[in-house]
């Protein structure tokens, strides 16, 4: 046969992720997809729709809402989930918020611990989920590079990186006892470049904050902080209009924008080739101390 049976790189990643998502739906009683509204989540949901077509998504989406996210994100979330007919659940650590938790008084590390890490663990417990699907990729960060596709969490939601279940071939052992759970990472083998190329290929909708346009920002150190209602302007800071975009999305005080002219996924892909620095760099919280991502993950962060 003249036909060459070689799957393209993106289609091979797609097939692998679909396989993982189907394993998750089949092996667990009560799985949930953690939907963070970011580009990886958009890709993840797209893959999940493919995996179960022509059926519906067999699990709900859970958003851990810190209440400090960009308003564009929430708008996008509500419109997108409605469009695709997905069941959206939202969880906020109200206890902490009512007790006054905020990034300005507590510092970003502590705030993040309460409004993301704790909130996630509590949210998963409240929903009694035995599997939580996340968009984590191994190329993102050094401790993520060590993570399994099916990653075991004990009753307290903790990750024990020194004692992970061996994961051979594409056989995923998702067996758990009550109270224990598995974090599933279908995008493990994707890189940032793959994500953008796939978004372009499949024409996947993402939050407009990812694309460059002139925005009113404050220049703080190395980062550009888009002016939002709840961003506090410090003494001596002057808002400026700068062409910029977000490389990752998160809470307003924690994720900065970068100077960029890239207004489409194509130009983002071209821009990525020239980048010599990682996407998480613009996240303030990852750098608080050496191995801080790992510490957060051990407590239950994604």
């Amino acid at each position: 046969m003249a036909q060459s049976y070689v799957l393209s790189h993106l289609r091979a990643l797609e097939a692998e992720s679909i396989h993982i998502l189907r394993e998750t739906a089949a092996q667990f009683c009560n799985p949930v997809l953690l939907y963070s509204i970011g580009k990886d989540s958009s890709v993840l949901v797209h893959l999940a729709r493919k995996a179960f077509y022509p059926g519906k998504l067999p699990f709900p989406l859970l958003h851990i809402d810190t209440t400090y996210e960009y308003p564009e994100m929430i708008e996008f979330r509500d419109r997108f989930t409605k469009e695709i007919g997905a069941e959206l659940r939202v969880y906020t650590n109200l206890e902490a918020i009512n007790a006054g938790a905020n990034p300005y008084d507590l510092g970003t590390a502590k705030c993040c611990h309460l409004l993301r890490t704790r909130a996630l663990v509590e949210g998963l417990r409240e929903g009694n989920y035995d599997a939580a699907i996340g968009g984590g990729r191994r190329d993102e960060e050094k401790s993520r590079a060590k993570e399994r596709v099916f990653s075991f969490r004990d009753k307290a939601g903790r990750w024990e990186p020194r004692n992970q279940r061996p994961e051979l071939w594409n056989f995923y052992n998702g067996a758990v006892n009550p109270g224990e759970s598995i974090r599933v990472f279908p995008l493990s083998n994707w890189t940032e470049n793959d994500i953008w190329r796939y978004i372009e290929l499949e024409n996947i909708a993402v939050v407009p904050l990812y694309f460059a346009k002139p925005r009113e920002v404050i220049v703080r150190g190395q980062t550009l902080i888009p002016l939002q209602s709840n961003v506090k302007i410090l003494d001596g800071e002057q808002p400026e209009i700068i062409n910029c975009r977000m490389r990752t999305l998160g809470c307003t005080p924690c994720s900065g924008a970068i100077r960029s002219e890239a207004g489409t996924s194509r130009s983002i892909i071209e821009e990525l080739v020239s980048f010599r620095r990682s996407e998480r760099e613009n996240r303030v919280i990852d750098h608080d101390q050496e191995g801080s991502m790992e510490l957060k993950k051990r407590e239950g962060y994604f």
């Binding site: 097939a15 394993e23 190329d139 050094k142 590079a145 061996p166 191995g291 510490l295």
Partner: protein, 539 residues
Amino acid sequence: MSAATQPKTVTLAHFTASGAELPLLRMSTAGSVDDGKSSLIGRLLFDTKTVLEDHLDDVKKSKVNRATRGIDLSLLTDGLRAEREQGITIDVAYRYFSTAHRKFIVADTPGHEQYTRNMATGASTSDLAVILIDARKGFLAQSRRHAFISWLLGVRTLVFAINKMDLVGFSRQIFEQIREQSNTLLSLLDGVHVHFVPVSALDGDNVVIKSERMPWYDGPPLLDILETARPSIDVAALPLRFPVQTVIRPDPDFRGFAGQLASGHLRLGDEVTALPGGQKSRVARIVTFDGDLEEAFAPMSVTLVLEDERDIARGDMLVATSKVACQAQTVEATVVWMSEEPLVAGRSYLIQQGPRVVSARVSRILHRWDLERLETRVASSLSLNEIGVLEIEAAEPLLFDPYRENRATGGFIVVHRISNLTLGAGLIERESENISECGPLSPEERLCLRGHSGAWVDLSKVQECADALERALLNVHLHVVRTEQPELRRLGLIVLTFGLHEGTPDVVVDGNDLRGAIEAIRAKTTLDTLHAFGEGEGI
């Protein structure tokens, strides 16, 4: 199907690679602790300009630096705190990079014996293994074990990188000696392609650029070997194997079997056989979200609709009728054991082959590999990191191809029934011979099957402890009987007698020290005492 419900279609070209796309190589590292695996991968990433500046800054800022000069490149993959603190790799790190010729997925694995399971995890999906050897230490037992496990798991290109050449004065003689040392092992591993390259991960000699400090080496640097190594075998060319992951049934009119082709390809109208059972049908539709296809090939994820209503569920497999897979309940398999709790003949475990999970019992251990001497030995159990050939009896049929023929369908993992831990990795060799055709049991086989030798325990002095003793022995999986026929010990039974008999008992229980009695019995029945027992006076 009416025109109104005619699904949209898509061509296969929607999924296939364009000519411009770089081929992929999956590789893993292997070798003993501290031989320089992580440093080598770090060097490869660094010299191919894959490392991002902030990741490099992070390494430079790190409190640890074990490199004797320059930056410690091992920290690019050793990302866990415990790894940095202890200076060893604990778990596999996956890295992605590409050159002008190829894309690579690299699994950097630990060399420490305790974490051999993580090395096996990395090797299970790789096509090529770079086995590091410290030039000062030579070919160690751990180098041998890792090369052997990589080969067992189907890695068919082994690159021996003799590292730290800077510490041995770039000596050609040492390089040649290590090459010699590997010969006995390599003669066991059929079908492998082998390369040897002298390198210094620390300084970069022969990693990406050919070293001027070893003019005697006339081969290519490591990266050239990786760029030109044989690609993985073409799974699409093997017979069709389609493990069903889930049944998609959005409405009464649609019933599709969702899965990923493990191997082979299929077209509309192809006849397929559903295993177990063997019902036949034809492919009516190949459904994807992007549209219906006329054909599909491994490793695509698709949903199949068959022409006939068939009772097919998760864990079943659709296979090419012209070449069906094996279906058997008793198989012979090589198992790499990965748990602190030893594998014991007679125990029951869960066996998972992708979506298929069945209950199974290890009916006997045929032998264990002694990787020091590269010989096989008799065994009744496998401890952590040991490799043995077992006979496994499953409660339901296993669906497989021999692992050597098909890596996607020949493997399984062993799962603990209660803790759910993954305990080992198995590679199916063949269906086991029919038991009725196996002839009489040899004393040695009986010993292996039972997991211990027999003993005569004389309880004539303290009959009241018999119940407790029997219970205690059964608890530790020993085969015990109460009978007045002490000669049954020859059949590998532990015989508890109460009356008086001719001959010498192996153990005489005369106090109420139950624990002491059990110890004495165990000491008499472990496999090590087999030969002594065989040569003893007998009954």
